[in-house]
Symmetry: D2
Subunit: 301 residues, 4 copies
């Protein structure tokens, strides 16, 4: 259970007291506000606040393009046009703030996206809880033999059991030591900013993460992708569902043009054209490297 | 009057229909939503949307610093502490979106602040209106004789009249030419993206400008400063008043620590210490250059 | 001629005195350093400084991916892999600084790219020169009848002559007024920060613009594109040639994957697949809007 | 010893082969290029590349302010003027790239500065080395009793010995487990991207970190400050020494106006003025909170 009863009570209270506003309101997002969506074994994502909706994107675009945009018959069509032509600034006019609880090794990957605002729980200042990510058995994967940064088959039997045992006991021991070093019972107690160094990367941290819709889409495209590590992908997928309810038209365009879309290189365009003209093209005649051809065939057969 | 009757009617309609939300609501900002605050002769600033309030800053800080922040007795004290110690990330958790109408030469100065989202009216796409900034007589200033980028006394008499006449007639003529080149009456009509090059820098443009509170404060510190050019300062001052109503505690801290604050160099600290100890310090014995000493005396006498 | 004899003499002097360095050196870029590449009638682009070369990209990637990257047989292959998989951070490890002279209306479009460092000539502080962009006759285009932000046929005959006459005389008059208002001959003289408002958008300004290679590629993809306005495209094209000599492998990958590449939506992928399977697909059966289909056919016939 | 003999040989080779360049060269920085400056027990900072020098700052400022800057008699004076008046863009015209080896918990603090380019060693892709930060005995500090995020006295005797023993044995055990889980000897071997979660925050990572001088100064002001955690401060102090040799005039101005400078609030200015006028001011009559007064007295006695 990701939230304490106290935290849940606070959320329930916040959800019970709507107030009037003149701002743009997204009914789909209001329904999610404050509620923790569980992710992994102890993590969650919850929406704390948002700014704008599909109409805000359209409104900003019409400021830019003036009367000229009137010929696009409807908002959905205009949003698709903007997405297709990489007009990113109207999407930047929407903003969202999440509260996320996540393992430190996921946070380290996540923070590489710099175009967001972050307030993370400070282990220099405060004491972290005894909560560690321990993979579910069906996510305990072997190293891929073909891709250095990928996973292979799921571990089985004794090996799986041994790994789980190691992860649990090492985490427990590290936390016991953390507490022992911090303790001021009969000793001075090590500074928090030092004691934290003993904690492993699967301990949970939490942060507020605020980002505009354009940069969020960029994050989701990379992290909800099938090649992303499972442990960050489940956060991205959860956020995708929230965004779909927040800005349905923008999300649909994002799915069509970004998540489901394909980038073809000039060489790739040429090969598809030759195939459409009936030609048989092989890696040797494609001008592509073997690796590139493998990826190309992954999409086009 | 900066807004057309149609625009005013749209604003009135938007203001007439509050909707329920579970988000943080700032009553002070709700009162300003959509309403155009006139600036200069044809410009305005109006708030289109906002995210967060004083509590949102406190809430984000408490995520970072955990239970440790509990000892600060109240929200206002914590906000002052954050501002004093340059803890900027909690202020980044608030966001605001303005619609601004402003002369192009002001827009050019404004856009140098890069940490904001912008959608500007496109003169490539659409046709600009015949609206130019013409300074009021008491803002028609002579070049400063001591500061290359400053103003001196207000122009008077014939010179003032001549300048106003030039600004008006040149602007009018430039716009007439703009229309004449665009016209498709008996001719092809020049492309909009080319015709715009004939328009002077005092023509009005407009944009949506969205920024987080930390970066907004940075903008306001520079642009609401007495040394900023009058024509951008009046926009900054208008925004200051709006922000004061939006996040009163944060704005009060900003006023005390930033707008009203003073940065002393190591040399300056030394001179003040010597003075406090009763010593008479002159420019020669201060270790400062003449220019620096002049600025120092400007603050400390 | 874009540079004064004095400026040219300074450049010649700078180019005459190589100094030893231990840093990465790009011979292709050294050959361009400081030399002004003429653009438009009075503009130019010149490289003032650069950091890194193709090897710096590879080196940064190998820090990230460690021994794992060794299996990519050569640097060029690794750079292509990075570009194909949107691994942008290694490209950020190269940096370049340009000195650019350009019309104000081009500068206004350019500055929308915020991820760069800029120092622009200040017309608040100094006096601008009497130099205006006047299009060459074959770039004096009519408004497009199909695209609000595009150009149609070149203007001809009397209309072209009239437009050129207007642009020249309005610019000349605006500058005369600028000088008259600034003059301190028998009058106080208007402040520079005010007088500049009378100048049209085709006056030339200049700036130092510094950017990393990843963000430069993003800029070039948008601005060297056939849909970009001619007056900014010629700057982008000039920079493309410089970058090709600076980081040849990275530029080749950029050309293949970005400039020459095509983004297909999920719908587009589906249509190509159906065509490859021999099916005849029309707009009606494609699921695309008319506008989208037109663009799709523009690429695929 | 922070570098392997192979790494040292590579550095020696790079340092042995100067090449001619026409770019700005900083002799002080050339002397440091590639050489690892040891930090903590296994970490280092080394300069990989740089762009610009003190003159580049001046040159950029003169582009902005034109002939107007000529009245500042020399480069050093102009640089001091720019720093004093928060003209940050000329400092952005210099760039530097560091290779840093640092404990993960330091990296986590460091990365909060988002305005830099980063390529970090990927533990998803590659295997980390068995290297952990173990504090030297005189940096093994107790938790501060007055400041949640500070250190108190150095631990002594048995407690110190116990903490060191815990840190060493827990790190060793975590790494043994990491290797055991990764091993493909008689088992499949856990995926690297999962196994890394067992590693503690004092393991060393490394990255390339590239930043412009303005943002570097901002980083150094916060991290070379006496209140920064010792383990990041020693990195900042090492970089300070490198920057002092790279851009001596800019660094001197930074020391005077930023590192050695003091920010006074409006209330603080008022109190100093009253004191200068001979008045006795106490916390009660200062208008400051107790905490603020304590900090004020820390500077002014």
């Amino acid at each position: 259970m990701p939230l304490s009863p106290e935290a849940q009570a606070e959320i329930d209270a916040a959800r019970a007291t709507p107030q009037p506003t003149l701002r743009a309101v997204s009914p789909g997002m209001e329904a999610h506000l404050y509620t923790a969506q569980p992710v992994l074994d102890h993590g969650f994502v919850r929406v704390i606040d948002y700014m704008g909706d599909d109409s805000a994107i359209v409104q900003a675009a019409r400021v830019s393009y003036g009367a000229g945009t009137k010929h696009v018959s409807n908002d959905e069509g205009l949003i698709r046009y903007l997405m297709r032509h990489w007009h990113s600034t109207p999407f930047e006019m929407c903003e969202v703030k999440f509260h996320v609880k996540l393992p430190v090794f996921v946070a380290r990957q996540w923070i590489r996206h710099r175009t967001a605002n972050v307030n993370e729980y400070s282990a220099r200042y405060s004491i972290l809880d005894r909560e560690f990510y321990i993979p579910a058995p069906d996510h305990l994967a072997a190293q891929s033999t073909v891709n250095n940064q990928g996973r292979g088959a799921v571990l089985e039997g004794e090996e799986a059991a041994r790994v789980l045992e190691i992860l649990k006991s090492d985490a427990g021991r590290a936390y016991d030591s953390y507490e022992a070093m911090l303790s001021q019972d009969g000793q001075q107690g090590l500074a928090r900013e030092l004691a934290r160094m003993n904690l492993p990367a699967n301990i949970y941290t939490q942060w507020y993460w605020k980002v505009d819709l354009h940069n969020l889409f960029h994050f989701l495209r990379l992290r909800a992708d099938a090649h992303a590590q499972y442990e960050i992908r489940v956060y991205a997928e959860t956020m995708c569902r929230l965004v779909a309810d927040w800005v349905p038209a923008a999300y649909a365009a994002f799915e069509d043009y970004r998540m489901g879309g394909v980038n073809l290189s000039a060489k790739g365009v040429e090969v598809v054209r030759r195939r459409l003209a009936g030609e048989e093209v092989t890696q040797e005649t494609s001008g592509m490297s073997k690796g590139e051809w493998r990826e190309f065939e992954g999409v086009w057969g």
